[in-house]
């Protein structure tokens, strides 16, 4: 009948399990689809158990009660993530079972597993079937069955693993999300790895891999340090010894000492050993390694330097999203300047002939760090492309204001009220469209017919809203025709003159209009838009 009677022995078993878990960490991470598929189950379980083992090491327990207390406390303090929290509760139960015992035999281990299960289940009212708890059930039942035959710790561990594996295989049948992903439960697998690691260490198998390739490929992921003072040993030293003259135990015995360093991991297979250690004397470690075999793949990192470099990067402030932002499509550099002066964050160039694509608009949205982005297409043909960006943005809410020209865009942006929500603002802005009458003066590129109007190439066209209302021979006549039809006791007229018009010409127009319409204030802006002589608005 085998039993563990020495504290050193139980420590070794738990440490072996931790090392085994570390090696399987990535594999566990890759299984993680439930409850949140963030691929950190293995890492969380490892860090939780790491904290437990570190607390045990620091407290130097002299009996099983002290060991159990450190195990429970360390796991609780280090608990991370869902599986980590559950693991800490399982360890708490195991600790209760170990309390006051002089040895851990099959019977005590069975009691530990039973209590681990019981306490872990107490902290959840609606346990989901097919998780780590299901696997713990299996492990515990396996132990109980095994104990009926033989009160031997190795025997009990062995049968717990077999029963745990069966329970693990069952998890996809209990939890559909696992079946869909074609995996077993990550936390359950992690738990099984820990128990397997204990068994392998107990029978002297731990950290022994089957092939040289597995040793070379085995990842060693260090725990992250929170501050510089925690780094007691500066140099993270890793190397491979080929054909070592000593076995794993002698290697560990030699290196596992505070005089040399900490975080020792040794991974061995036939004829190869990988060593990882944090030390202040890498030379001494390497001298020893050279004395027991040929050394290759040497890697020595200064962790303090790494820590400082890493934390420098972290200082970079994350971009803070403001509450709202504006993206506007405008034709012409002058109009772009006006838009910016009105508080538009990103301006896209887009005339009648060069409409920006959804992709272009999206790029402009990307450049605006705001929770709500209002997009002003300022053109009937761009509204659809703008609306397609709504589905492309997960982190931002896109509100497309259906403005059909730049005058509407400018008027509606002025009615924006930051006290209101996006829906109310959209309504306000749409209402603002009605308060402004818009016109444009351009020329015909070819002979055509529109709305019963016969238009000859190079004639000057008057556009009101969306329709051509007149064709004239001069620009002045065309502007007059717009005012004839649109003027209705308005107070302000805004004129944006295009790249074919000089400031002097625009000012002359202003004077002419103001002398004819005494009540009207005319404002003149340089729009620099191509194709259109003038954009006009009355309000």
């Amino acid at each position: 009948m085998n039993a563990i009677t020495e504290i050193g022995e139980i420590k070794k078993i738990f440490k072996g399990a931790l090392a085994y878990l570390e090696n399987k960490k990535e594999e566990i991470n890759n299984l993680n689809v439930f409850p949140v598929p963030d691929g950190d189950t293995g890492t969380n379980m490892y860090l939780t158990m790491y904290s437990a083992i570190k607390t045990i090491d620091d407290s130097e327990p002299k009996n099983f009660t002290e060991f159990a207390e450190a195990l429970s406390k360390g796991a609780l303090l280090g608990a991370r993530g869902n599986s980590g929290v559950i693991l800490s509760q399982i360890f708490r139960g195991i600790a209760v079972g170990m309390h006051g015992k002089r040895a851990v035999d099959g019977k005590v281990l069975n009691e530990c597993f039973k209590l681990g299960t019981e306490i872990a289940y107490k902290a959840v009212k609606k346990p989901v079937k097919g998780t780590i708890l299901t696997v713990m059930d299996g492990i515990s039942e396996g132990a109980t069955e095994a104990l009926k035959k033989q009160d031997d710790i190795y025997h009990v561990l062995e049968h717990s693993i077999v029963a745990g594996k069966i329970a693990l295989e069952e998890t996809p049948n209990l939890l559909p999300v696992l079946k869909e992903a074609g995996v077993v439960d990550a936390g359950g697998y992690g738990l099984l790895i820990i128990i397997e690691g204990m068994y392998k260490t107990a029978i002297g198998e731990s950290l022994i891999f089957d092939t040289k390739e597995m040793v070379i490929d085995s990842p060693i992921v260090d725990q992250s340090y929170q501050n510089l003072d925690e780094i007691k040993y500066t140099y993270c030293t890793e190397f491979i010894i080929l054909e070592p003259k000593v076995d794993n135990d002698s290697l560990r015995n030699k290196l596992d000492s505070p005089d040399i360093g900490d975080s020792l991991v040794t991974i061995v297979a036939d004829g190869i050993a990988k060593v990882h250690i944090h030390t202040n004397i890498p030379g001494t470690v390497l001298d020893y390694a050279l004395s027991v075999g040929n050394v290759t793949n040497i890697k020595i990192d200064n962790m303090k330097e790494q820590f400082l470099a890493k934390n420098k990067k972290v200082v970079k402030k994350p971009i803070k999203f403001k509450e709202y932002g504006f993206v506007m499509v405008v034709p012409g550099a002058g109009l772009a300047e006006i838009a910016k002066s009105m508080g538009v964050d990103a301006v896209l160039d887009g005339g009648q002939t060069m409409n920006p694509s959804t992709h272009d608009i999206q790029q402009a949205i990307d450049a605006v760090p705001a929770k709500i982005v209002y997009v002003f297409p300022n053109n009937k043909n761009i509204i659809l492309a703008a609306e397609q960006t709504i589905a492309l943005n997960n982190d931002k809410k896109i509100v497309v204001v259906p403005s059909i020209n730049v005058q509407q865009g400018f008027t509606s942006i002025l009615s924006f009220n930051e006290e209101k929500n996006s829906r109310e603002n959209l309504l306000l802005m749409k209402e603002a469209f009605a308060t402004v009458d818009t016109g444009a003066i351009t020329y015909a590129v070819r002979d055509t017919q529109n709305n019963g109007l016969k238009i000859k190439k190079d004639q000057i066209l008057t556009i009101r809203g969306n329709s051509i209302i007149a064709s004239k021979n001069t620009v002045d006549e065309a502007v007059d025709e717009y005012l004839n039809q649109a003027y209705d006791n308005h107070e302000i007229m805004t004129i944006y003159y295009g790249d074919k018009v000089s400031k002097a010409e625009a000012d002359k127009l202003k004077d002419r209009i103001e002398s004819k319409y005494k009540e009207l204030d005319v404002l003149v802006y340089e729009g620099k838009q191509p194709v259109y002589f003038y954009f006009l608005s009355l309000e």
């Binding site: 929290v85 306490i119 959840v124 009212k125 509204i383 997960n394 929500n421 829906r423 959209l426």
Partner: protein
């Protein structure tokens, strides 16, 4: 109502109650949660909420395009509270994102009580 989508053709709104149910179901299944606290405290502390009461203990406030989900829970004594609360936050946030994508939200966890069970 929570405004989910707004286009020229119309809008899609969903009720706060729907958000509560999705969040509540995720919360009661979290490890460490043994109960929820009803959002109007007149009802007192709910020891355990059955299937029909997933939305109890969840408060949803929609304002300025942002959906604030407040989760009021009772945890089991003996677990690491911040880790459990973080898990609840992650799981509720994930579930809501999964069923109601494109909704701007924040998830706040309120640990209102601890149940000591022996």
């Amino acid at each position: 109502m929570v405004e989910l989508k707004l286009t020229q053709e119309g809008k899609i709104d969903i009720s706060e109650n729907l958000v509560s149910k999705v969040a509540g179901k995720a919360a009661v299944e979290c490890y460490g949660v043994v109960g929820m606290v009803s959002k109007n405290f007149k009802e007192g502390i709910q020891k355990f909420l059955g299937k029909e009461q997933y939305d109890k203990g969840i408060e949803v406030i929609y304002k300025e395009g942002l959906c604030e989900i407040n989760v009021h829970v009772i945890l089991a004594y003996g677990g690491k509270i911040d880790a459990i609360a973080q898990n609840i936050m992650d799981q509720v946030s994930y579930a809501v994102e999964h069923y109601i994508p494109h909704m701007e939200k924040i998830v706040n966890i309120y640990v209102d009580d601890i149940a000591i069970v022996n």
